[in-house]
Symmetry: D2
Subunit: 332 residues, 4 copies
């Protein structure tokens, strides 16, 4: 860590600050410039409160040289992490296609969708049983019943299942769930992350709507620091000023996260764009940029013509996309 001190900082102030920093367990290496003094802090700087330091009257600015994330950091773990989900691998060259409806609606729906997405090449089944909704008046999911229908679909098809948790008190209901998802709105619900870190379940962690990559990795670190290294990162669009799409999908975070971390990185073009007709080009783009997997909404209800055009693909559209994805993967 480097602290740049303001012009006119006195020797006494520098000594005072240095003494305090040393009590925090770091060595201080000053270098005196014409206009500025720079303190190089060496040692375990992860314990230094960077915001506090930055806010001191004599400090112009602070720069962290080493990353604040440790366990998810590629520097300390150069090989790709491969997460094993009941035999299905993600990361390190293993590509996952997670497909299914936004919400679990019924036993029949889940089994039908599961069968059709499996036939088209999906490797994991998704479906929301607990639904985080902006409005308390909107449908909040089938809850325990939803999980039961997912498990039945797994029994029928053999596909491991992925579903979202919103409350650590619900963990007992997730005992047979294969991958537990943490939604964007809970990315910094640190209490939930810590509880999930105490399990050994694979955790699919979605990036918050306005969170930086550093914050994203620090949330992974919350899970890992409790002992659970099975974290899958998922980009699902960030909030910008643009209103044509629901969010702006940040494709560049895929190669960046791979550079910074050894964890698998997948992408969710359905939520990022909110428009079915953008799912194919954005799924292709994410694949070409090196993602380790995709999470795609597929809805299978021929009777409900209303859902044509929603953010969900039909099973036919999904099958077509899965085939194109396979071809792009061959080039990489």
């Amino acid at each position: 860590m480097i602290a740049v001190l303001k012009k006119n900082t006195t020797k006494e102030q520098i000594d005072h600050l240095t003494a305090w920093l040393e009590t925090q367990g770091v060595e201080v290496h000053p270098s005196y410039g014409v206009d500025y003094t720079v303190l190089g802090l060496v040692g375990d700087t992860s314990r230094i409160d960077m915001e506090l330091l930055d806010s001191l009257a004599i400090v112009d600015s602070v720069k962290r040289v080493s990353d604040p994330f440790k366990q998810c950091n590629r520097k300390f773990h150069p090989e790709d992490t491969v997460v094993d989900v009941d035999g299905v691998k993600i990361g390190g060259g293993h590509f996952a296609i997670i497909a299914g409806p936004c919400s679990v609606e019924s036993r029949e729906q889940m089994i039908a969708v599961a069968q059709s997405v499996k036939a088209a090449g999906a490797t994991l089944l998704r479906g929301g049983a607990f639904k985080p909704r902006t409005s308390p008046y909107d449908f909040q999911g089938l809850k325990a019943d939803g999980i039961e229908y997912l498990l039945e679909a797994k029994k029928e098809t053999g596909m491991p299942i992925v579903t979202e948790i919103m409350n650590a008190n619900h963990l007992s209901m997730f005992e047979d769930v294969d991958v537990i998802q943490v939604g964007a709105r809970n990315m910094q619900n640190f209490e939930l992350l810590k509880e999930l870190g105490k399990t050994q379940k694979p955790i699919l962690l979605k990036r918050g709507l306005a969170n930086t990559l550093k914050e994203f990795l620090m949330s992974a670190e919350y899970i890992m620091s409790e002992g659970n290294g099975n974290v899958i990162l998922c980009e699902r669009g960030i909030r910008t000023y643009e209103t044509y799409t629901r969010n702006t999908m940040d494709i560049s975070c895929i190669p960046l996260l791979h550079e910074l971390s050894h964890l698998p990185v997948i992408a969710d073009p359905s939520h990022a764009t909110g428009k079915a007709r953008l799912v194919e080009p954005m799924a292709m783009a994410a694949t070409a940029a090196g993602t380790d997997g995709l999470m795609i909404e597929v809805h299978n209800d021929p009777a409900n013509a209303l859902c044509d055009g929603a953010q969900s693909l039909t099973p036919e559209e999904f099958a077509h996309l899965a085939e194109k994805i396979r071809k792009v993967r061959e080039i990489l």
Copy 2:
């Protein structure tokens, strides 16, 4: 709610959609333009899933005419809500000054700060016992001990206390806390909001870093829909591209929230700017814009010169500011 249909939508498609909307309990009033058909939906449209409707292939766009928030909406409750915190009122002309340190550090610190901020005009005491930190390796607060020290400071000074909750399972520890704060990162932790809605405690709800005013009000609605109407809204800066300040304080949300809702609206210039020297001008600005209160970090530790210049004011700076605030309030 208004749905604009795409050009070339067939009569059959319109009939199909109309039938479905009617099953959702709304009346449909079509008006046919040269290029577009517009459906006016009348009745309880809060149950219509706007995103689903918007995503249909035949729908160009959807516009909600009535607000999705009900209980916090000024249209249905024109008078200002006044929240009573153990005798201290907030809203409807009652101005609150909430002051205290970012973190509770010790019994002595809390009592000393409490006495000095009370003398300077503060009406409530704040202090963090549970601290949401981006890094799992950073100090997470004194927890139960922190709450105990706050309560002792209350006993000494008579000031009601405000402190943050991060986990609904901790509610029993908050039994004697006067105002429970929900931090920005938990603004859409809906499970926590629902639990707080089941209490009758005043809830200080901070706006999320990248949340719109509608989302902010919908989170207040989560609390109110469970039966707790004692919600205080708090602006604390939003995330933008600007990097000179930690966040960008959205002062215009103060008059806007007052227009949209009857709930009290306060502002936190300390967290919004992250810089002590900006606290005074931004506190003045928020007051001039009509806020119902301020939340200001004050730190009282003459031995720890390090904290000079942090985002906290000294008690002397705070006393000076409180006096200026009083004068601006007289003009309004």
Copy 3:
């Protein structure tokens, strides 16, 4: 256009507004709801000042149903526009690879880069002669000399050239330039756009750093409304809160712009990311998402090891990328 009026708007106010709207040349079709009145405006609403209407005391909100852009709108021109640049086509299935250095530095550099990028598959040559710099103290480009060196490189290799204009008074210097580029900072320099609209030169229009797709298309419309239909749109990253990349490349705008407009859409991963190691994955992503071309910085100066790793690729890296791009294009 639809105007939703506020509750409690009187009949007299509605009549007053209707009369004014009719003087603006549109027909007004009111529909009266329980809570709200909605006015449908039919006719040439492009002349109605939407912001003015929206700001009236009795108006709740206004929604434009038809797009404000006309000449670049795919609705009125369903086939792709193919821009012909001295025999090299862009759009409608024709893919362009524009390569070259950020700045023109010397005659020798330009000829050497031109030869190597041509060999690797580039179809157009780029190089900055006039450089928009945030600081007045930074290098502003070789200006007229830079254009001369580009023209010599064209003579040697036959590749058409692309270079940026910053001032309409310089147009005479651009007489032999094949494609005139408008940079992101000048995207809403309407005076410049109008002058370029009076030429018949292909114009490469870069999206502004914080401009919406509608604003982007309206700027294309400025050029086209003066008579020049040879506009190429270029995504080059938008400004967000994320600081790991210089900008956030908005890949989803590629399929969206294709949907909204018939103009060719290309992408510039070098400027969008600012990091050479991200150019390949983002170029691949843009191609997979359906872009009509790429603009890539290539620098060819083995003596200047400093530039290794800059946002520019070496000719070898570029050749490798061009080959991968070709393979992705085959799948689409």
Copy 4:
């Protein structure tokens, strides 16, 4: 300037980089840490291309310690600049109220508005003769006639006038204009800034919609580096994800710009919010935060009831606001 080098950078690479930096005229002071080497660059670093340096393969990150802006920097010019506009002073304790309509519509309108805003306490008159519009089909202003009407209003009232320029070729028309305004969209139209720098006219420079304070000050620097020190900075709202207001007014930039620069800083709440009912609270907030002046839209057309509620105030509302502003100013 400080450059942090990546781990594993070789001695040879460091020597190579050091040699190059020395040819750029700076001294290089290395300090070797356990994991990282940091180079301190001392001397005139304004000539170093920070982005180039940052993009080198061996460089982890670069930090500018001294500011890139010089002439507008308060460090080198501690006293406030006072801009004298034909006898009316702005800055250094002199507060300006600039009022008038968004667009000049007619001679009669301008004279009537000028008289009423003068009576209410305005010190300068504004009105748009050249209007930057997103759409080429929208009204572009009365141009030369508009300037003539402004000058007649000045003759009647004695108030200096402020109006926007969009093209340096129009400068001759602005000969008698007292303050030339540069709009947000042209904040980085460097060619225009340079031409205005060659005059001695006061320049009112509006912050771009998505520009940082550093970029804002660098644009002021473009004007000043050509010899014109009469620059007035104007905050007018920045682009964020929030859609309730047209833009988000960044009040905190007022104290920050005062800290960084000696130039006067004013605020435009009319454009920032786009809503008349927000103009008063935001004007009050900006004043309380220390602005040196306000720019407020006032429209004076009792016959045109349509403009009630627009972003313009009526003369009566303006007079009421001016009185409240005066009272807030007394406290500061």
